[in-house]
């Protein structure tokens, strides 16, 4: 078997589902969507204290739960299913993996416990304007300055970058790519909240102007390491997408059973019934793709992970988008309104598809990995 969920996994899923369904009801989503911060600090605190979610993959010695990527994937899937607005992907997935894989011991000891405790929001500042998604193509430079470093340049599409306490910045030194730490509010850092297509995930553009930063990257060129951080992020994001696709299927099906036209439930028309059936196939395939990726990530199976993540990101992106679009269509005029949640899933689906490389990008990578 490529993957088996244990009963502990199932229990964890149930616990998370109960929590996020309660905390991410429609009114809460809409509140966070229109707030600048974009999440509820109380919910965030409960995620840390009550559920220990923020330190899922952080080792126990740093105050985490010491669990693995399967658990993280489950959390992402459940959060994606209800569009939970929280800096989980940025802090507990991207930044945490960056620290675990690329940072020195001192930085890990400083930041991980505080992340696990819900006290620090951290964002990974990676992407640069018009540079695509490959770490090797990034250009931002860090210059040595006394015993510290200076950062100059622009990072964009930084998830939760506007509200993060700590920014983990990927930049180049003479040795190659490395990782830097800087407070979000430090001098020389200008953060701009971007008007996003998807209001439920906040993105920022961040300009560094001779900003004093601390180098926390391990020695040497970290291109491959950061690549892996991104690949893990992609696997987690695919799980989130699978959760979203599943929810769109559920919404469409529920509506098709109850909405009457021509004296009968619209789900009795084959046009609608078959559409829902296709959504089911899409959601099931999406889960298989995402689970395959998160299990390979959990096993630290680098030989398989690249292909699995590329396959998951390309498939889950398209399946989620299709499910979100179909959900609108099944809801008719109602699905097109601001009032209904269908559009929130639609926008999340499209922007997740564009984040970290679109399906075309990942299929090109996959083709290379498998020698097509």
């Amino acid at each position: 078997m490529d993957f088996v969920f244990t009963s502990e996994h199932d229990e964890l899923r149930q616990t998370i589902r109960k929590f996020v369904e309660d905390k991410s009801q429609e009114a809460a989503i809409r509140r966070q969507m229109s707030s600048e911060r974009g999440y509820d600090p109380q919910v965030w605190a409960s995620m840390a204290e009550q559920l220990g979610l923020l330190g899922l993959i952080i080792p126990e010695q740093h105050g985490g739960a010491g669990l693995g990527f399967v658990e993280l994937g489950i959390a992402m899937e459940e959060m994606g299913r209800v569009l939970l607005c929280a800096p989980f992907f940025s802090t507990a997935v991207l930044a945490t993996n960056a620290l675990l894989l690329a940072a020195n011991d001192a930085a890990q000891a400083e930041l991980l416990p505080s992340i696990a405790a819900g006290k620090t929001i951290a964002a990974l500042a990676l992407n640069e304007p018009d540079r695509g998604w490959e770490v090797a193509d990034l250009a931002m430079k860090a210059a040595a300055d006394g015993n510290g470093w200076r950062l100059d340049g622009v990072k964009t599409f930084v998830i939760d970058g506007h509200s993060a306490d700590v920014l983990l910045v990927v930049a180049r030194t003479n040795e190659g790519v490395s990782l830097f730490q800087i407070r979000g509010e430090a001098d020389g850092v200008r953060r701009e909240l971007l008007p996003t297509l998807d209001l439920t995930r906040k993105l920022a553009s961040i300009t560094f102007d001779k900003a004093r930063a601390q180098r926390i990257g391990r020695d040497g060129d970290l291109t491959k390491t950061i690549d892996k951080v991104v690949t893990l992020g992609i696997a987690a994001l695919a799980a989130e997408q699978a959760g979203g696709a599943q929810r769109c299927l559920e919404m469409a099906t529920e509506y098709a059973k109850t909405r009457l036209q021509f004296g009968r439930a619209i789900g009795s028309f084959q046009a609608i019934k078959h559409r829902c059936a296709d959504m089911l196939v899409g959601a099931e395939f999406a889960k298989s793709a995402a689970y395959h990726a998160i299990f390979r990530a959990a096993e630290n199976d680098d030989a398989e992970l690249g292909a699995a993540a590329a396959m998951a990101k390309s498939y889950c992106s398209e399946a989620y988008f299709q499910a979100a679009a179909d959900n609108i269509q099944v809801h008719g005029g109602m699905g097109f309104t601001w009032e209904h949640v269908a559009h929130l899933y639609f926008k999340r689906a499209k922007s997740s598809s564009l984040l970290f490389g679109d399906p075309l990008h990942h299929r090109a990578k996959l083709a290379q990995e498998i020698g097509i």
Binding site: N127, D130, R131, G132, W133, E134, D137, T156, F157, L194, P195, T196, L197, D198, L199, L203, T258, R259, L260, Q261, F262, G263, R264, I266, F269, A271, I272, A325, I328, Q329, G332, G333, G335, F336, T337, W338, E339, H343, F346, K347, K350, S351, L354, L355, D358, L360, H361, A364, A367
Partner: protein, 409 residues
Amino acid sequence: MSTYATMNEDELRQRVRKLIEAADPDKVDMFTFRGAQFDHGLAWVNFPVGYGGLGLNPKMQVTVADELRKNCKTVYDDLIINPIGIGMGAATVLTYGSDEMKKRLLRPCFTGEEVWCQLFSEPGAGSDVAGLATRAVRDGDDWLLNGQKVWTTLAHISKWGLLVARSNPDLPKHEGMSYFLLDMQAPGVDVRPLYQITGEAEFNEVFLQDVRIPHSRMLGKEGQGWQVALTTLMNERTALGGGSQQRGGGPINVLLQLWKNNRAKGESAAAESVMRDRLTKLYIDAELLRLTSQRARSAQRSGNPGPEGSVGKLAQAELYKKIWECGLDVMGPNSLVYEPGYELRRPASEDRRDRTLMAKYQFLRSRANSIEGGTSEVMRNILGERVLGLPGEPRTDKGIPWKDVPRGG
């Protein structure tokens, strides 16, 4: 109306130039110019003389548009000025209205002085619009209306509403309806905005409480409402399925320009060739939509369009969604940003000339294309059953009194 008057293209062009001499759109205001266009019979050339037309074949309207474009900078778009009035209301009034109505209504409809809306859909009756529940009860010379309409585009700025209501609930659904022209300023009409995926409120809910409509504003006869409504709907589908008039024009043009400005931003040659293939496929579909609707127009007999209008409506809805989705992919990560923002508002009147913004906005707006004016599923049913003559689905809602058909809220 069975044969068209004849006028050759040169004569028609000459007439357009005369119109421009009389009222140059670059010099006079919109109402004045369009009033003159109406009076010259150039509003809708297929309409009879005196009602804004010349009794010509409708395909000759293209000549009018072409000559106007050649000579004037200011070109008005009917579908922006008064989409419902011009796109479907006028033909309905022409077919079913009294002479008085035609005289009173058609000119300000064309000029845009009086905007129209369409009050068909209800919370419980969308695809199944013939299931509608708004009640019309005769009261002396008037009808008394009660009920709720929904998704009513432009109701908030409309003077007139095309409204279908149930005048006899004891008859089978298609037989118990009547069609009215509602004065939107009448007492008891309450219009409330409904916001959509873009944050804008193009459409509304309209509540009707003891609204009086004089019997003289009924279109067609009592109980003939469905037949009249079909005229409106088929005109709507034709209006929504015309594609672009010019080769490579309209949405596909915006998309291809976006591609030229954005191509190869960090993507591999392999990815680029896949994208080129996708764009080329969309180009082919856009061209074939244009050519097919051109062919349909010139084959159109006199009178109102028939169910074959659903070919263009279906194809255009599905194509435009794909084109605008591709637009976002072409812009790549920059599509994560949505510059127009989602502030809840009435649509801004400024058109989105900036291609980037237009593409992003249309990505969202186009999702309605396969819903408004009849869903794509309903179009396929019409094509299958009414055009191809395939057997219909078993119906449980026909032949019994409307009041006995199961209904949701």
